[in-house]
Symmetry: C2
Subunit: 332 residues, 2 copies
């Protein structure tokens, strides 16, 4: 993917819009990391119907995790996304939205669990990996591509990867059949200036290949939406968002904010606001996600949010001082 | 003010810091807009002590409003900032932090209520006005300057002012004795690209005058912190923040986030986290501020947040759909 030649220097003139930008709603997939993917069909169908009504391009419904590694009794069905579960949500006729699933490197029996495209309602397989898993991820991309899927590459945790290794990975991805690569801010640690730098690096590495560059942010520093805009301004044309920001830890870029920013008339904000009111306001009384001080601390320290998640689930979730002291005691 | 010649292209290299950047905590002043300035001394003293311990450069304690216009019985004392009230917080000895107050154009009896500097603990008078009040504001700046104060100019609501009028106002401010001018995003409606553009316009207008350019953001689109960073990256060297983001409507840039970003060793984050835990976590159960859907809607529509504030105080604060429909019915 290259930035369209008519793309304005700054995101937009705030009146027109970029028709090339595609939005993926990963509420069910990233939100599933908050509750071991224990969403009932009513919830998932509501998200699906909301996204269709809102004109969102893709919906990601979960992972294709290995049942050898994760016992199905311990997780909800969206950890595995069996074909019959997907079809109960999506229906048998072609959906007016593309269906995506995430496949984690070394946690997916991809040869068997990802069916040939003509046997599945899935459109897009997003392969997620850490830097040391690039060879495995490339095999997964090839496998899914050969089976007939659009494939996307999610290289995670790049805020702690040396730049030369990221570049080497991008060179490999550029030669793969992946339709694109995402800049993934797993720790919610990137500031806008870094998002700009990385996005331009990713675009340069993909130049001439026709591949897209996307962005997946987290809200640990309350920059989920801001960084998503920055990625767009810098030339990315795929963005991830979740309704009400539901997602691991501090959550993600809010779908309701990014649709408002994009202004493409194919998007409708109102169904998303309805879903926020009907589903997410009640859910927020029962589940803990979104920005809070512990996430700001791990974000600032460029660390995985797992310590902050543990803290928020503990006895003193609002004692940011004790958490700060703990993090200062345990470098890195 | 000009950007220091050694300022890196992007905010920082994320390791060093810019020693020229000054932080003003306006928790008591902007937060007072949430409760008619009814803060007790215990609260205000805690904010004061926190800011001193945190190494914050300025604390703004309230307004110097006219008692002819606002009945003292209807408001807390921080609407007026009488000298004896200030001294009860600040003490009689020179404080280790600069004391600021805000004076609104046409709402302040500045000739009488702003004392000569040698009779006051105030260091800095920040004059706030709308575009049509520039002549009055300039008289207020001159009055306070002649009395011995540092003065700063806050031109409000620029997101709805034609650009040529903003430029004309900046030319007038450049010739005034004001120590600087703030870009003020009153409606929390600016995206980062606009913050960059405005900040550069303000800097260009002040070039060669030695005046500072500052930024005061709001969090309606959850961009309060992000936009403050962008202003810094673009060359601003004064920023406003509030503890836990307390402030009108969706609130302001969080002091705890901006201190973490700035990295100047003179700042200490821990006292701010203590204050968040001890004061603002309990307060958040009693007072409504911070990001929510109604503010996102007024921010996106570039409108004053007053309708959203009214909605949040009403019977269905979480019905963002009904509020959206209402706003769509009533253009501008």
């Amino acid at each position: 993917m290259t930035v369209p030649s008519n793309a304005p220097e700054f995101a937009s003139d705030l009146i027109s819009y970029r028709p090339d930008i595609k939005v993926l709603d990963c509420t069910v997939r990233d939100g599933g990391l908050c509750n071991d993917h224990q969403f009932d069909d009513t919830f998932v169908k509501r998200i699906f119907n909301t996204d269709v009504a809102a004109g969102v391009d893709y919906i990601e419904l979960g992972y294709k995790c290995s049942k050898r590694i994760y016992a199905p009794a311990d997780f909800g069905r969206w950890k595995f996304c069996d074909e019959n579960d997907l079809r109960r949500i999506v229906g048998d006729t072609p959906a007016p939205i593309k269906i995506a699933v995430m496949a984690d490197a070394e946690r997916t029996d991809y040869h068997t669990d990802i069916l040939p495209k003509d046997k599945s309602v899935i459109d897009c397989v997003r392969v997620a990996c850490y830097i040391n898993q690039i060879p495995t991820a490339m095999d997964m991309i090839k496998d899914a591509h050969d089976k007939g899927y659009e494939t996307m590459m999610q290289l995670m945790a790049v805020s702690i990867v040396p730049e030369d290794q990221i570049k080497a990975a991008l060179d490999i991805i550029a030669k793969s059949p992946a339709a694109g690569v995402y800049l993934v801010d797993s720790f919610g640690a990137l500031y806008s200036e870094q998002v700009r730098k990385f996005t331009k690096m990713y675009l340069a590495a993909m130049e001439g290949t026709g591949k897209d560059v996307g962005f997946h942010g987290h809200n640990n520093l309350q920059l989920g939406f801001a960084n998503t805009i920055e990625a767009i301004v810098s030339g990315a044309n795929r963005v991830d968002a979740t309704i009400s920001g539901l997602g691991r830890g501090a959550g993600n870029c809010q779908l309701e904010l990014i649709l408002g920013f994009l202004r493409n008339p194919k998007f409708n904000l109102r169904p998303v606001l309805e879903c926020c009111r009907d589903v997410f306001v009640p859910l927020s009384k029962k589940m803990d996600w979104g920005y809070s001080i512990p996430y700001a601390i791990t974000g600032r320290l460029n660390r995985h949010p797992r310590d902050a998640m543990k803290w928020r689930a503990g006895k003193t979730p609002d004692d940011g001082v004790a958490f700060y002291d703990l993090m200062m005691e345990e470098p890195g």
